[in-house]
């Protein structure tokens, strides 16, 4: 892989996936629209889609335990745009980690755009940890645009934890996540988002708690700096005896704008749904405390934001 990627491309790959060399097990590394490297393992089969769409199918055999799949995407060709479909079929009684993510380095003057549609079919009693990191850089005037869509179907007693992070660098993003959760299933989301300059970020979650004793917890931590704008929507529909909670906690700075729209809808009298949303500046007392330990105001601010998005 070192022969294929230059230094900055390797850096991009490391930032979004942690990879510095090809991993063991199953992986698909996508680079400027093509598979740079792909491998299946005994239990995890990755194949190019056969329906004409761009993307891959990932089949995980039932009972697969403690394996990790890497499917990072990196792009550094200015003007490259793509729409990619990745479908995950996770067999019953599995426990796997999936590391996705997209890094765009755009040094040109044309917009680069990655639209990824990931669909998860999580089998009964299976546990999935899904990590998705989005990152952009580059000195060009072309925009870096990412629009990830995540569709999740969790079967009985299944569990998915989705950790999605976008810290700086993406000019525009529309992040859509729709999940349906069957009986005793759980869907956890931890979103971390930082926008700056004139960036725009929109996240929209919709979780349907269909099964008895299903649950969800959607937690978003967001920081909007400069003139950036954010729109957060979390809809939780309780369609059975279930428990749902959403929390949007946002720090607003400079001339930024943040809108938080939490929606909870109980379609069953046994649904328990809670939403919390808070937007505010960094508390002055927090800055004063850290300054009283010898930090400058700017250093204090950076520590507070870094901790908040930890």
């Amino acid at each position: 892989m070192k022969q294929e990627l230059n230094h900055s491309e390797q850096k991009l790959l490391k930032i979004i996936s942690g990879l510095t060399s090809l991993p063991n097990g199953a992986y698909n590394i996508r680079f400027n629209g093509t598979a740079l490297a792909r491998s299946s393992s005994k239990n995890i089969i990755i194949a190019k889609k056969s329906d004409g769409k761009d993307g891959i199918d990932i089949h995980i055999r039932p009972g697969t335990k403690n394996e990790t799949v890497y499917i990072p995407v990196i792009m550094d060709k200015s003007g490259h745009t793509e729409l990619v479909y990745n479908d995950f079929y996770i067999g019953e009684n599995s426990a796997v980690t999936i590391i996705a993510g997209c890094g765009i380095d755009n040094c040109g003057n044309q917009d680069s755009q990655h639209d990824g549609i990931h669909t998860f079919h999580i089998g009964k009693n299976s546990r999935v940890k899904y990590l998705e990191k989005h990152f952009g850089e580059g000195s060009g005037s072309g925009e870096r645009i990412m629009n990830p869509t995540t569709i999740v179907n969790i079967a009985e007693n299944g569990y998915m934890e989705m950790e999605t992070t976008q810290i700086r660098g993406i000019n525009s993003t529309k992040r859509i996540t729709n999940a349906r959760v069957a009986a005793k299933g759980t869907f956890i989301v931890k979103e971390k988002l930082l926008t700056h300059a004139a960036q725009y970020a929109e996240t929209a979650f919709q979780v349907d708690l269909d099964g008895c004793d299903s649950s969800t917890n959607v937690i978003s931590r967001a920081v909007a700096q400069d003139k950036s704008r954010q729109l957060f929507t979390a809809k939780i529909y309780g369609n059975n005896k279930c428990h749902g909670h959403s929390e949007c906690d946002a720090i607003i700075m400079n001339n930024a704008h943040i809108t938080a729209v939490p929606v909870i809808k109980a379609n069953d009298p046994n649904a328990t749904l809670v939403h919390e949303a808070a937007i505010g500046k960094i508390a002055n007392e927090q800055l004063i405390k850290l300054m009283s330990l010898g930090l400058t105001e700017k250093e204090a601010e950076n520590h507070i934001i870094t901790g908040f998005l930890k």
Partner: protein, 243 residues
């Protein structure tokens, strides 16, 4: 030496000007433990905040080690050796106990290093070192962590504690006294705002502030009996807070 010269602090309430502190003149010698006491609303906390730079005086000057620090920022004062333990410690989402102690120390502390500071304030270190300084901590726990941040600051020459006893249970009180005694042995200058008789008892000097003015300054042997004698009208001096 810390010197306050003609220090006043006023706030505007509508058309009226309220005098919180009026013409405070005070010298605190190095390596002394000084306790400021007096009724609530008398201006004690404001005075402490002015010394740290959190509030700006309306008039007057502050000298520390012969430097006029009146216009210095909080950061400058901190780096010049002034530390401040808040009456109501601040909570942070996502900043851990160990990280906060490391920030106070000015370098990354080892777990063992952080634990030593926590043990000094009576916290079972293993239970706290991995936790965040957030709302999951009780009032007493966060208060003791606040005091530990002062212990972690290596360059402290003047340590200010604003009502350190607030929220501290009786069990931990002796630990708190030991903290002050140890700092005293290390030749720190300590300025404590307190109503607690047991803290008044460790003072080299006691300053009574009421109505924004210094009412009395003296050795504890002289001041404490007077405070106790007026405690009939104001019970705060027997360690019972009136709030």
């Amino acid at each position: 030496m810390l010197e306050l010269k003609h220090l006043s602090f006023t706030v505007n309430e509508g058309k009226n000007t309220k005098h919180i502190l009026s013409d405070i003149n005070l010298s605190i010698n190095d390596k002394k433990t000084v306790v400021i006491t007096g009724p609530n609303g008398g201006g004690k906390s404001t005075l402490a905040k002015i010394i740290m730079g959190i509030e700006k005086p309306s008039s007057g000057e502050i000298f520390f080690h012969n430097k006029n620090i009146t216009d210095w920022s909080i950061t400058q004062r901190a780096n010049y050796g002034i530390s401040f333990a808040f009456q109501q410690p601040v909570r942070f989402k996502g900043i851990g106990v160990k990280e906060l102690l490391s920030l106070a120390a000015g370098n990354e502390l080892s777990t063992k290093g952080a634990c030593e500071y926590l043990a000094e304030v009576g916290l079972c270190a293993a239970d706290y070192v991995g936790r965040d300084v957030d709302t999951s901590l009780s009032g007493g726990e966060i208060k003791r962590i606040e005091i530990a941040t002062i212990l972690a600051r290596k360059n402290t020459q003047l340590a200010i504690f604003d009502e350190p006893e607030a929220g501290i249970d009786l069990w931990s009180f002796q630990k708190l006294i030991q903290v002050f005694e140890k700092m005293h042995e290390m030749h720190h200058t300590i300025l404590i705002i307190s109503h607690q008789e047991r803290i008044l008892n460790i003072a080299d000097e006691i300053i009574l502030i009421a109505n924004g003015q210094i009412q009395q300054v003296g050795k504890k042997d002289v001041i404490i009996p007077q405070l106790v004698s007026i405690a009939g009208s104001c019970n705060i001096y027997k360690g019972v807070k009136d709030q």
